[in-house]
Symmetry: D4
Subunit: 162 residues, 8 copies
């Protein structure tokens, strides 16, 4: 089964509220993506199979969102040389500090690219995935440049009421 | 190949200095143990195979020491219903806070029992493994009770020079 | 008075909301358990008596939930060689970081097995207690394996709406 | 056996290097003090007995130094209505943050007075103990006032070389 | 003007909600206390005058509640050799970690006795103040012992519904 | 002037000791890279010019190492849609927590991919840069797969002396 | 275009709720100020131009509020020798610890003056800006002294209901 | 006695090693400065007198370095409307996090401008003091602009050996 170029996975259904920031941005860009639930701790074999097959299935970049002892992005990175982007979920007790450190503090040899905690990180994971594809895809590069110009324009047009 | 009852695994050779606290205590108790290097991020398939086979190989308790984004204990717990004890390594930058949170903040459904950061945690992982075996092994129970009495005695015999 | 195999204790009535995760899981497993309030700081003598008598009363594993300067699990571990599992409560000010460090940073010689902060930790304390019993109890082992399969199934059956 | 008015206890012999700051200050004040090793986790019965008997043995204030999951001061406070002063030891991994939170975050009803982490805290525990005695002892009050004047004088006399 | 034996001061009116825990406990004990607003940063001269005069005005113990860069307890301790108890307020951003560290990390020579963050700390500041007075006041000692017995009784009488 | 495909920049000469981990790995892969000092706070115009020109100069991926209020990676990401990888330096006071949060907590719209603090992060930044290039470069993909196999082999060959 | 003496800039419209504390205080002082949105990460060229031109446009002090990887104050300080005051926004996940460290931990050579996290910091940024102008402006000095007297008066007039 | 325009004060002699970064920079600028030891907790009356008299003594800016429960900068700011710059010392246990939070988390109404922890902060305190004076002093402004150009030049001239 051919897969989409950008695969978004997340550890639990409750992560979808945050990860929808990534989904929505990819929709906006009309990107080729797919979304699924995969848990490093509850469905480890599916994670391993997904990660091992990803490249030959046509996946180019993987986005993994998880919280707490967030092992998902690292577990995927353990099985592939595709770029893996981690999104640390905001958590109830430690507010995502646990998710961030579990995601970013990877040992030398097996990188995970961590984004910010929570919604800004989810949104940026999608942009970063597109930036990776944009290295060799002129159309995506062009869309990203337009997106960046829009950012400037939006900030510039704000009328402050003070 | 039959395995020992207590399996100590660690993510990297550099963890041995800390984990030797566990090894030495098990030696002292004349316990049935084995030690190996297994990395959640570098040898994930070996971790999965080890964890899946552990119970039928005769393992009763697993001790896993790892540092940073310490996924080892959780990766093993994902594949077995044997009790898994995690030992968070002290790290250079965040002093083991990263290892601790990555080890202890497991999602509901897949427990890891975390010990303290570093050497005291390594030592206690061995004692805790013996306590688990001691639930149904009278001889180990007896040795543990003697060990506890020795703790009292050692503290009591200290002559403070003040 | 014969006691249940799994004893759940907690430092305050307000901990019950969290600890009910443990209770409910043990109910689901039809396990032999009992629940009581014991405070390391308010009823220390009862804690000591409970802990000293636990093994001869038939207790096999102890789960202790407490918050803040969470001394309960450690105080119990000081008096017994039964395995003691600590559950750090989420707290108002420091969000459970205080409870976690007070529970997990035990000195060498007296282990406490710490679970995650709050509800996931409470749930996992029950599973871990069962895993300990499952080392020598085939029926519990079987139930745990089924529970694990259910986890996989539940994750697999989620239909994401994206 | 009649006891000294100020009792210094500590969880381990290795705490003496830090706690000697308290001992030395009490020596300097020619105070009535005694020092002993008592461990909340290794010698809990001795801790309980010490704390229960302290007032009738003539103790007026208790200083307790401990590190990591520092339960000593709280365990003593659980058994007495004498003022208990806690000194959190600096630790290798978390630099005393664990000791501080375990000492200071006591539940309502059972106070422990926490000093700073490490040597300044040890020194201040002795001064604070004297301040408590000085509430009803004119001689100690006078010595404390002189000590305070000396602090001013010492700071004032410093010649900076810049 | 003669003052009460226990002086409660706080840095801002908004601290009263928390500090009322101390006030209520002292009411319950029928203790001799007074309450006032004094700010280390907004009314420093009043703080200095209050602290310098406290002992000769009849004050025996001072309780100071403050939040953020909580300098109040330390500023008072700078001017008196009476025992000063600090209560760190829970804050919006850093949840009281700032208040705690500003209160407890005093330099050697000038002790402040820190209680827990927020309401439990406020309550305990009152108990600790009474414990200090109880060192030389048999009636307060007796009341404290009764209070402690009540704590045990209350915990013992809880009927858990599980 | 044509630039290399992978540009490594760092905020200060003192970062080179850490960033040499990235340089050495790229050397080992015989990759097309260049290294320079650029400071977000001291040479902001050079940073802006570098970042704006990078794509048309042939750069494909940018690695930026900085410490403390580590603005370098974000300042570059502000000016380009190329993927920017941030490496937080370990710092003297806060051990890299400041660098990590300054690097990773980017606002939605402008992603930076953060690696771990210090040397492991520096090494992984190089691997991750190669993974990005490997999305569309078969030769790099092949080298990465060999590198991954070597990781497994190295771990497997360790003979533990216990 | 001549600019106001005090320029308030902020990274996002959502920061205005917090920064209105600064605006309101400057209004109260009838100060010469202006407010604008400038984002270090979304409109870096406007930030650079604003900062480079500020002094010749008549600006004397700059207040910059930003959250998360808060690079705004530092990015401005990189381009000017005018005093730059940073206000770290309170954030959802890490409660402003990220904003604070990103603002305050500037490298030697390029200072930013950090205020407290959130609203108190915003208010103080305005007062501090006025203090800077008050160094050479007698009228502002006089207003600040009156403001300080009012602070004392307000605290003094509080009637506590206890 | 007329005072220098820039007053550097520090809480203890041991702070001089760090604060010499400020002294040396002011020497380099040939600035009008003076240095003294003043402790908020040991010599509070001297702090108050210094702060109250500072403006009429000709002081324009105050730099205050202190560690731990670092109340010095805030205690000075409580008595003056001159700009006060705080430098948090790096501490043994909490690495300056305590000093930073005690310095920066000032309540609304009484600002302190915090610099980075330790040596970079000390250096920057001197530059920031000069920036304040440079608002109305053309010569200092000119020197600061030259200093900034030198920063660029120094970075630009580095030859990396890689």
């Amino acid at each position: 089964m051919p897969k989409a170029k950008i695969a978004i996975v997340m550890g639990s259904q409750s992560d979808l509220e945050t990860m929808s920031e990534a989904v929505n941005l990819l929709k906006e860009f009309n990107a080729d993506y797919e979304v699924r639930i995969l848990s490093a701790h509850r469905t480890p074999d599916k994670v391993a199979k997904f990660a091992k097959d990803a490249r030959k299935d046509g996946v180019k970049v993987i986005i993994a969102g998880a919280g707490g002892a967030a092992a998902l992005a690292g577990s995927i990175a353990a099985h592939t040389t595709l770029p893996v982007i981690g999104v640390p979920m905001e958590t109830s007790s430690l507010k995502g500090l646990d998710s961030l450190l579990s995601t970013v503090q990877m040992p030398g040899g097996v990188p995970v690219a961590s984004m910010a905690i929570g919604r800004p990180g989810a949104k940026n994971s999608a942009i970063f995935a597109l930036e990776i594809l944009g290295v060799s895809d002129k159309e995506i590069e062009k869309k990203l440049n337009n997106y960046k110009k829009e950012l400037v324009k939006k900030v510039t047009e704000i009328k402050l009421k003070v």
